[in-house]
Symmetry: C2
Subunit: 342 residues, 2 copies
């Protein structure tokens, strides 16, 4: 805040030129101290700093961005803010960005290609340094275009193969294997998977499905013993999935869910139906959202460090800007064993 010893309100929107004039130096010099570029007497520097404070000078970031062709901002393009995965990830992005002095743009696409495109265009126009994006279905092509000629892009997702964009993700497949192995080792004989319908429709087999199948095969359960149920990515999807699983001729004694939301829906419906969890049915979720610990029984889940994922994404953007390329990264996951699948 501007100190204001004489009671006048400070002039609004002082510019670099105003500061320069007030001190009696050129704008060049003021710009130097504002940007900490050194090369300036300590005394000049102090006088400029004092003037900045007195006039309440605050740089016009649009002007700076226009001349630097970059605005010290980064973009985050999500699919759904309501997905429980999102807030912690976004928080990691925001903090990492803010630590670098970057401000964050946020847009949500609902998985729609048109909205994704307009979000990206806007961000390019605003001179973002780079964008972190959860790709909308069937719209990775647009991302490739943007990444090629407009701005650095990091994809959050590892299901996109054969595409020349770096991505940050977690060891989803390994996590799925851990989960299923854990169920098998604890004596379960028939493990069903409740998978997100949309993710399953992706061009490439989703990682969770691969992990599920691998784990089963390794233990001698052939494809005829795999049971995959496609569900909506929601609590209700989990509920419906549970019903569908139990309607099978040979119903499962364990459930591996696409994420915690689905797992919680399934858990709830199981309890409603008087099924004992974990005695009659073990359940494992994915992500490890906080609500896993609010369930009775508490939900076993594969933990993704979403905060860390967000921070890494920002770091990758920076590397991409500085070096022109950056290797994709996959963070480890961790099986958190709780009462729903001990």
């Amino acid at each position: 805040m501007a100190t204001n010893t004489n009671g006048r309100t400070p002039p609004e929107n002082a510019t670099l030129a105003d500061v320069a004039e007030h001190v009696g130096v050129s704008a060049r010099t003021v710009s130097r101290v504002v940007n900490n570029q050194g090369g300036c007497t300590a005394e000049t520097r102090d006088r400029i700093l004092a003037a900045i404070d007195e006039l309440g000078y605050r740089p016009n970031l649009m002007a700076r961005g226009l001349s630097k062709r970059r605005s010290d901002t980064i973009g985050l393009v999500s699919i759904a803010m309501l997905d429980p995965f999102f807030p912690e990830f976004a928080d990691g992005v925001e903090r990492a960005a803010s630590d670098l002095g970057r401000t964050m743009f946020l847009a949500s696409t609902g998985g729609d290609r048109v909205r994704q495109l307009s979000a990206l265009k806007s961000m390019v126009g605003h001179g973002v340094e780079g964008a972190i994006v959860f790709p909308a279905a069937h719209a990775v092509g647009d991302l490739v275009d943007f990444a090629a000629k407009e701005m650095p892009i990091i994809i959050v997702n590892d299901d996109v193969q054969g595409v020349r964009i770096s991505s940050v993700s977690a060891e989803i497949q390994a996590g799925a294997e851990m989960a299923v192995n854990h169920l098998l080792r604890s004596g379960r004989k028939r493990v069903a998977a409740l998978l997100d319908r949309d993710a399953r429709n992706a061009p490439r087999p989703a990682r969770r499905e691969l992990g599920y199948r691998n784990a089963l095969e390794t233990k001698g359960f052939g494809p005829d013993q795999h049971l995959i149920i496609d569900v909506d990515n929601s609590l209700e999807g989990g509920r419906v999935g549970l019903d569908e699983a139990l309607a099978q001729p040979n119903p499962p004694d364990a459930l591996f869910a696409y994420n915690d939301l689905i797992a919680i829906g399934a858990l709830q419906r199981a309890l409603d139906r008087g099924i004992s969890v974990p005695d009659d049915l073990a359940i494992v979720g994915f992500d490890d959202i906080e609500m896993c610990q609010a369930m009775t029984p508490m939900l076993t889940s594969v933990r993704i460090d979403r905060d860390q994922l967000g921070r890494v994404a920002v770091d990758m953007i920076r590397t991409l800007v500085e070096e022109g390329s950056v290797p994709s990264r996959r963070l480890p996951v961790e099986l958190v064993v709780r009462a729903s699948a001990p």
Copy 2:
């Protein structure tokens, strides 16, 4: 995307001047059609549009912002993205903003005054049209300053009294009264409130506390029969609060919680301790997050339409920009009765 009939990649970063030259008109005219300002032959217009497409022209929003002194963006400054209240609100803001052709900046302060200040400064620098902010504790003064001389601000919160900034909020106090009345009407004799410690420390008595006390007084329960327990705003806060409530000489048969997170924590701990909900203890939450419906028993809660709240906030920003002032608004809430407090 630029159509590209001849196989050449379109030149990167075409400018208004490039388009103008390509068509053989002045930048002024191109600017007109880009901004739909009319006053231009349909034929000229079509040729310009074609050139824009061909050259892949996309306006430089920093340049536009610099000359208009406004960047067609709006800011959202939250306290915590991890608060379950946030995502749905932010989604409402984002959609409403996007419907108006605005892109959204997002910053999170953790309730810290310094971070709030730097978020606001950055947003001013980027020429946001206005900011929607969840005020950090004891930092409303900064908001008043910014609102007075920097940019339109809407506060999300109605606990800030006597301050010349418009706010958007919900009928919190009425909602609290509804909740407590409901408990009383259903025969409960002793209702405790689990309130957020931080909100209670606010300069003004929090709305939920007022509602709680009013409802009790109205039914003849004097202050000596009020039981308020300060807790952290978290699942764990709810758990600790439940224990503390039951440790009272005269333990409650009903709980009114500050929000669903706290209510869920309390519910969980109650079930853990073998207390029957709702038979021995009824519980009512606040906000009505989706997870209320995943509990067993499902949680009764006071619903705030957070999506709507976000949309209204954006609308208020627009009115504030256009008219110079806007009345504060308070949206209605609704008691959603479920099994935890039938």
